[in-house]
């Protein structure tokens, strides 16, 4: 696992995605904005759209699988993840509709919907890159504390904290907030070739600490990625506030050579920012 502490968060995320989109058809798992937890993915999408509009990348052959969706929320509800993805990403780029997969929270048979999602991922050849944020309780997608670390795509009930955090997008009315969601499992994400976790803000700092400085534990499901062969955690400085200084210095020290090794040489912006 590599951890990069870097001021310019967006560039790293988007450069990785940009690299993928330009060079070959790709299967991405995309994050909806974990709305209660910030706008990190939004910034990422905006940059991707900018790159697309400049003609530098294309999504024509990219397949995406969103990691979750609320159950029972109408698809065109402004808070559904279908709406979020359409308004913030899909409609601005040239992705093909048949390549954009989002779980259907209104399917008649939710379990079948989940199984067929797993099948679609398999048919697409598996996920190349997973991008997601975490919750303050260390959850990845809607895999709340206590989720099995080998779980697959399934229906999950939402924790009270999550519902309360979401309430502000439903006019503060708790009764309007969905109580269940379909989500990819921890196991599903572990099958991805590469995992990129985005963590910003001091309210995530404790979760980051639990994720990388403590052991693998189902109460902090993102910690499962300690056992993934290729994970990158992208953080800003505030998110590292609960880490040991030694940990932060270690990753900062390895950042430069790591990036030169791993990233394509035309990423000049990145190197400039590093200096």
């Amino acid at each position: 696992m590599q951890s990069l502490v870097h001021r310019n968060l967006h560039l790293i995320q988007l450069l990785k995605l940009a690299k993928y989109s330009k060079h070959f058809p790709n299967n991405l798992v995309l994050t909806n904005s974990p709305l209660p937890t910030g706008s990190t993915p939004l910034g990422c999408y905006k940059k991707l759209i900018e790159y697309y509009k400049n003609g530098e990348i294309s999504f024509e052959f990219v397949k995406t699988f969103n990691m979750d969706e609320y159950v029972g929320l109408p698809r065109d509800h402004p808070e559904s993840y279908h709406s979020f993805m359409w308004n913030n990403f899909f409609k601005h780029v040239d992705i093909r509709a048949e390549n954009a997969h989002i779980l259907d929270g209104n399917a008649a048979d939710l379990q079948a919907e989940c199984s067929s999602f797993e099948d679609k991922i398999k048919e697409a050849g598996g996920i190349e890159l997973f991008v997601g944020g975490i919750g303050p309780d260390g959850h990845i997608a809607f895999n709340e504390p206590g989720s099995s670390l080998v779980s697959r795509t399934r229906v999950k009930t939402l924790a009270k904290d999550t519902i309360m955090a979401n309430a502000r997008f439903f006019d503060g009315d708790l009764s309007k907030v969905p109580t269940m969601a379909l989500t990819v499992g921890v196991g599903t994400v572990m099958d991805a070739k590469e995992v990129m976790v985005l963590i910003t803000g001091s309210h995530k700092a404790f979760a980051l600490y639990k994720a990388i400085e403590e052991g693998v534990n189902h109460m902090w499901t993102v910690s499962a990625f300690q056992q993934h062969p290729q994970t990158i955690f992208v953080c800003d400085e505030d998110a590292t506030l609960e880490l040991r200084v030694k940990t932060v210095k270690y990753f900062q020290g390895t950042a430069k050579p790591h990036c030169i090794l791993r990233l394509p040489s035309h990423t000049i912006y990145y190197q400039k920012d590093l200096d």
Partner: protein, 408 residues
């Protein structure tokens, strides 16, 4: 905030519908608008339900996109006078329909001033309600301004053809007009005896009733509204002036006797001549949601200065003014709809959206056609006008098809 627009046209092959990406949601933001089969399409549904995408793109280069303008009071133009009985009225209407595309007008109501019954009987049957297209703006129906109006406020209408209601029944109307098919609006003076039953009858037929050329007091006007009247013909002109103890028809703008859920709309000829800008501002501030821009354009609109026929009279053009020949009575304007939009914005200081709505959404609401026209909701007809930041018309579209473009 400007509203930019980015089109994608899509055609799936011979014989299929064209999906154009256009945008306009709920005013006003950067977006694309999508059109298929002449109607505005919900691209999110297209994406998720049909896995559709756009084939063709039209870059609108930063234009503001608005619903096409609707002119509910236009007497003619370019030498054509709708009230002149000719053998081929339809040709005259078509000529005007084609020319007004340049002003961003995509639908209109050809207006007839007070005329003898013979004229109505000859003219009305020759023109049907029809959609617009590359040949010209759509016709929503006639606006019959008169002859049931007040002699004291006849304006440029010929006095000898004014009428009163004999019984208030259908016979009064059919005797004068002939049939009422293809009529969208009638202007009458509500103080005339028996007018109430006429108002009710017309409203039941789906014809909008407008109050104008009248000396009605506020109470008479309010009664007419109770019976279904919903419009005021060129506010301030040809009616009693506002008086603080009896505001007259003007008082409808702030009346508390309007039935719940209904709006009284009012036409304004915003050419800077028919109404002092200060008066325009008073009306706009008192009741912005009801303001409907009309041109009240006459045959001389689009022509050079000089003398021209209008109805049964002769009109004289002097600059931007049009008078009854030999008098100083205004006889109608020669302003175009886009000029009125610009003038409204400049004189009232209203927002771009408000100025554009006054020429599109409000007239559509007045005529009860706002599901299809006057807005850019999903499912509405793709009648559009692209304007630049100064609100000059760049391109006009009807049913998603380009019908006029300004030469660079």
């Amino acid at each position: 905030m400007s509203f930019f627009y980015y089109w994608d046209f899509m055609s799936r092959g011979p014989g299929s519908s064209c999906i154009v990406s256009l945008f306009l949601g709920r005013f006003w933001f950067w977006e694309d608008l999508w059109v298929r089969d002449g109607k505005i399409l919900d691209p999110e549904k297209l994406f998720f339900d049909e896995q559709g995408f756009a084939d063709r793109r039209v870059d609108c280069g930063g234009s503001i996109v608005a619903p096409g303008f609707i002119d509910v009071q236009i007497n003619g133009g370019y030498g054509v006078d709708f009230s002149q009985p000719t053998e081929d009225v339809a040709a005259g209407v078509s000529l005007v329909a084609k020319k007004v595309l340049e002003h961003g007008v995509t639908s209109f109501c050809p207006t007839l001033v007070t005329s003898p019954p013979a004229v109505y009987h000859q003219v009305l049957p020759q023109v049907q309600v029809h959609d617009g297209g590359p040949d010209g703006a759509g016709v929503l129906g006639f606006h019959l301004e008169g002859p049931f109006i007040s002699p004291e406020k006849k304006g440029a209408h010929p006095e000898r053809y004014l009428r009163t209601f004999r019984s208030g029944g259908m016979e009064d109307l059919t005797e004068v007009y002939g049939g009422l098919d293809g009529v969208a609006m009638v202007t009458l003076a509500p103080e005339l005896p028996h007018s109430q039953s006429v108002v009710r009858m017309l409203c039941q037929k789906g014809i909008a009733v407008s109050l104008g050329h009248s000396v009605a007091n506020l109470s008479q006007a309010e009664d007419a509204v109770q019976h279904g009247a919903s419009f005021i013909t060129h506010l301030f002109n040809a009616m009693l002036p506002f008086h603080h103890r009896d505001p007259g028809i003007v008082g409808l703008l702030t009346s508390d006797r309007i039935p719940a859920g209904r709006t009284v709309f009012y036409g304004m000829i915003a050419d800077g001549i028919h109404t002092n800008p200060a008066a325009l501002r008073i009306a706009h501030r008192a009741h912005p949601a009801g303001l409907v821009l009309v041109t009240d354009a006459i045959a001389a609109m689009g022509l050079h200065p000089g003398r021209h026929p209008l109805g049964q009279q002769v009109i004289e053009i002097q600059g931007l003014h049009a008078y009854v020949s030999g008098t100083k009575t205004l006889s109608g304007s020669i302003a175009t709809m886009d000029m009125c939009v610009r003038h409204l914005k400049q004189a009232s200081g209203c927002s771009v959206e408000e100025a554009l709505e006054a020429a599109s959404l409000h007239p559509a609401q007045l005529l009860g056609i706002s599901q299809k026209k006057g807005n850019l909701d999903y499912g509405a007809d793709a009648d559009l006008v692209l304007v630049d930041d100064a609100l000059r018309v760049r391109t006009t579209y009807i049913s998603g098809e380009e019908v006029w473009r300004r030469d660079a």
